[in-house]
């Protein structure tokens, strides 16, 4: 029986069957033909999360532009669907032609979040593949990974044949075709991998061997064979303005997180917040031109029928001509009742004013991220925000009619003390006070003011100036959360926080090494799935998995020596270690580092190392 026939009779039994049916508008379903190269792209989380992810859509359409490539999608089945698949003996399948993954040549995962690692293992298993790369020969699909956390892929390295480090749109097509060619020439798996490893950006973990000392620190990570490159350099797209961007974008039936037209207006951020991994790993900043953005928006809106456009990037408000762009677009699409949305606001009045001008629909609220509660600590993390900026921004927001403000903070940052935590409370209460004041003055009767304070726990991330610091202990996290729970009560305030166990586990895998693969496998065997989803996360499974493999979580939370070899040292992010060390020292001294886009080069070395440069939009144009 074909997958489709079986499915048809079963899907009504699961929650949200629409996750598994495909057939979306703009889906690319090609005729299944022997001579085509077949690529299955996997997102190791639920459909609705995966369908909100721009990177995967971009690669999906890019690969399908090639006539000799068939690219299809698959997502992690929710627990009920997994049970059904196992019970009925249906393998993991693609949404387009409903083909088993084993019928594909390449099985590619996007890695976005450490807590989806068990889903990757589960999907390999549901697909009927041996879990470890070493146990799969060339008759199995090539398992590859890429994405935003691929910069330390070590904990999952043994499951993958290769990783693509960096932005894949320039290299993925060639990589896939090269692979097919080698396979056609009857190369064996190890020969194939040795060949592919020569491709820039390709990292074949099996060709590198970490050696540990008695304490579990890495003594060396060296290539196993002569001729294998020592370091793998991150790939960066130059001339983003001319780079591929899909305009016949696939659109889900299901209401997903970002169900709207999405235009990536820029890539990268140079603000230099010291906790932020994306701030380093997407450098340098590259902006699309206003003309290109409007052309893309026109086409996407035409092809999708969306009535909302989101201008996305790591920091949209920093786009060089943001006000001009946003106003032009608002005017251009007004008649078609298309609204413009700005995904992230900077903490200032300018951002609020711009949001007011274009956001016809007053969404539930506005979010600001001061990140830390005191000026001292914000200087440590290089978040250039003053208390007054925040007060100014929220006053503007309340005056413009918003009644709910969400404030985003972190606890557990390096050097944090009680005053910094108390500062969070103070800021939040002051914001509420400003809201009440504005509300009382207002002539009309207004909804009551609500301030939601969301506090996450800081995790040290690879390739940041904080990659060496110790992660906060569970006791400390709980103590801080208890304090905030106690102080952030009362009318108009609400406080939310993360499960400390989950944060600590994320902290383990963020800076983890290859030995953790065995822990992942154990946890998966004990039933770990969707660990990022509170309802299915169970810390005791993980504790048992660590015990079983004689590893300790705490060992991964420790401070690293500045001179120690880190598990990700063979990945060349482009950033110099010297720069990160200097930034770390500057942090401890509370010294700010300016944005290179205004202040000139700050010496991170990325442009030099990766032979790229800032691409800022300077032009004026008459597109209206």
């Amino acid at each position: 029986m074909k997958v489709t026939d079986k499915l048809d009779k079963l899907l009504y039994k699961v929650k949200n069957p629409v996750r598994y049916i495909g057939n979306e508008w703009n889906m690319v379903k090609k005729e299944w033909a022997e001579d085509k190269i077949k690529v299955a792209l996997a997102f190791p989380d639920l459909y609705e999360i995966g369908m909100s992810h721009l990177g995967l859509k971009l690669l999906y359409h890019l690969l399908n532009e090639e006539e000799d490539i068939i690219c299809e999608r698959t997502y992690a089945p929710w627990l009920d669907m997994e049970a059904l698949l196992r019970e009925e003996g249906i393998p993991l399948f693609s949404l387009e032609n409903k083909k088993a993954i084993t019928e594909f040549d390449v099985f590619g995962f996007t890695l976005q979040y450490e807590m989806s690692y068990t889903n990757i293992i589960n999907m390999l298993d549901l697909a009927g593949l041996p879990l470890y790369s070493k146990d799969r020969d060339e008759t199995y699909p090539l398992v590859i990974g890429g994405g935003s956390i691929v910069f330390n892929p070590e904990p999952i390295a043994p499951f993958f044949d290769l990783f693509y480090i960096g932005e894949a749109e320039n290299g993925i097509v060639d990589l896939v075709k090269k692979y097919q060619e080698l396979k056609d020439r009857k190369f064996k798996k190890d020969e194939i991998l040795l060949e592919l490893n020569q491709t820039p950006g390709v990292y074949v973990p099996g060709l590198y061997e970490p050696v540990y000392d008695e304490e579990g620190r890495i003594k060396s990570i060296n290539p196993k064979y002569p001729g294998v490159k020592k370091k793998i350099s991150r790939q960066v797209v130059s001339n983003l303005d001319q780079a591929y961007y899909p305009t016949k974008m696939i659109m889900p039936y299901m209401d997903t997180v970002h169900d709207r037209a999405v235009i990536e207006i820029a890539r990268g951020c140079t603000r230099g917040c010291r906790f932020c991994a994306a701030g380093i790993s997407y450098r340098p900043v590259r902006e699309r031109s206003k003309e290109t953005i409007i052309r893309l928006a026109d086409e996407i809106l035409e092809n999708t029928g969306y009535d909302e456009v989101s201008l996305t990037s790591l920091s949209t408000m920093d786009y060089s001509a943001v006000a001009d762009l946003v106003k032009t677009m608002a005017r251009r699409y007004e008649e078609d009742r298309i609204s413009i949305s700005l995904p992230s606001l900077r903490v200032d009045r300018f951002s609020v004013n711009l949001a007011r001008e274009v956001q016809r629909v007053r969404k539930t609220g506005l979010t600001f991220a001061p990140e830390a509660g005191s000026q001292r600590l914000r200087d440590v993390i290089n978040k250039g925000v003053q208390d007054e900026d925040l007060y100014d921004a929220v006053r503007a927001a309340f005056e413009e009619g918003w009644s709910t403000i969400k404030l985003y903070f972190m606890i557990g940052l390096p050097t944090e003390n009680q005053e910094d935590i108390a500062g969070i409370v103070e800021l939040a209460k002051k914001v509420l006070e400003i809201g009440e004041e504005v509300r009382k003055k207002s002539a009309r009767s207004r909804k009551k003011i609500q301030v939601n304070i969301s506090v996450s726990t800081f995790k040290p991330k690879p390739f940041t100036p904080f990659q060496w610091v110790e992660m906060c202990s569970k006791e400390e996290i709980e103590e801080k959360q208890e304090y905030l729970k106690d102080k952030l009560r009362g009318k108009g305030l609400s406080f939310s926080w993360n499960d400390p166990d989950l944060s600590l586990l994320e902290g383990v895998f963020a800076r983890g090494d290859r030995r953790l693969a065995r822990v992942l496998e154990s946890a998966w065997r004990k039933g770990a799935r969707f660990d990022g989803w509170g309802e299915s996360f169970a810390i005791d499974i993980w504790e048992a998995a660590f015990r079983e493999n004689q590893l300790e979580m705490a060992a991964y939370h420790r401070a690293r020596d500045l001179e120690e070899i880190l598990p990700w040292d063979h990945i060349n992010m482009g950033v110099s270690k010297k720069f990160l060390k200097e930034e770390y020292k500057a942090a401890l001294a509370g010294r700010l580092t300016e944005d290179c886009r205004q202040a000139g080069c700050t010496g991170c070395a990325i442009c030099f190392e990766l032979e790229t440069k800032l691409e800022l939009y300077r032009g004026d144009s008459n597109v209206n």
Partner: protein
């Protein structure tokens, strides 16, 4: 808001798309209309909406052959253009088959439709079932009591027999039920399934995917009319 035209359309929702919900279906239509560049009429206010009204929701997983919506336009257009423009923009499994322009003050679909016909693909636990006899005995019951599930309000037990207008076997294992389906009284197909399974040990519960909503109708006296019929829309 200018309403230049009110269109009533009959569409089908088939296998490929039977798992999308009522709300998702509305969104799918809205986006298709926008792609088709229809002269849509919007509501006033801060957050304008198109004026699309669908008939009784179809259960997720069920195919519908004759489903209906009303849509307001702010400009006149040819019905055949409307159908072909929209059909070009609809995903597989969704298709408009007929449409008419109706009077602006026509009664809303939800208030007009009062009858539905379902075709059950029966599941028997035995072979060689005397289907005719079984159905006749079922219909001969004076009372057929089933549990009605109600969100929030708690389940109750109801008698569904009066809501079954007629039933007939249209092929081996294919049973057609004509039932009340409207804002006043509404019999849910899964209640028929439950009643059948309760009634006879030979009949298994018929899952949603085995049921097709053949059509929605307006019953006037003993006659069934399509919601597009002249007698109903008066134009």
């Amino acid at each position: 808001m200018v309403i230049a035209m009110l269109i009533r359309a009959e569409f089908e929702k088939l296998e490929e798309i039977k798992y999308i919900s009522h709300l998702e279906l509305m969104t799918t239509f809205r986006r298709a209309f926008r792609r088709a560049k229809l002269p849509l009429a919007y509501s006033k206010g801060f957050n304008p909406h198109i004026q699309l009204a669908l008939a009784q929701p179809l259960k997720v997983g069920m195919v519908g052959w004759k489903e209906y919506f009303d849509l307001q336009l702010n400009q006149e257009m040819e019905i055949k253009d409307f159908i072909s423009l929209v059909n070009q923009e609809l995903p597989p499994g969704l298709k408009i088959n007929k449409a008419v322009s109706i009077a602006e003050d026509s009664k809303a679909l939800m208030a007009t439709i009062n009858t539905a016909r379902y075709i059950f693909s029966m599941v028997f636990k035995q072979e060689n079932i005397a289907e005719e006899d079984l159905l006749n005995r079922f219909l001969a019951e004076e009372e057929i009591r089933v549990r009605r599930e109600r969100v929030k309000k708690g389940d109750i037990e109801i008698n569904i027999r009066p809501m079954i207008q007629r039933a007939q076997i249209i092929g081996p294992g294919k049973w057609l039920f004509q039932v009340e389906s409207g804002s006043e009284r509404n019999l849910r197909p899964e209640e028929i399934s439950r009643a059948l399974a309760d009634f006879s040990p030979d009949v298994a519960y018929v899952p949603i995917v085995n049921i097709v909503r053949e059509g929605l109708y307006v019953k006037v006296k003993e006659e069934l009319y399509s919601p597009l019929d002249e007698k109903i829309v008066g134009r």
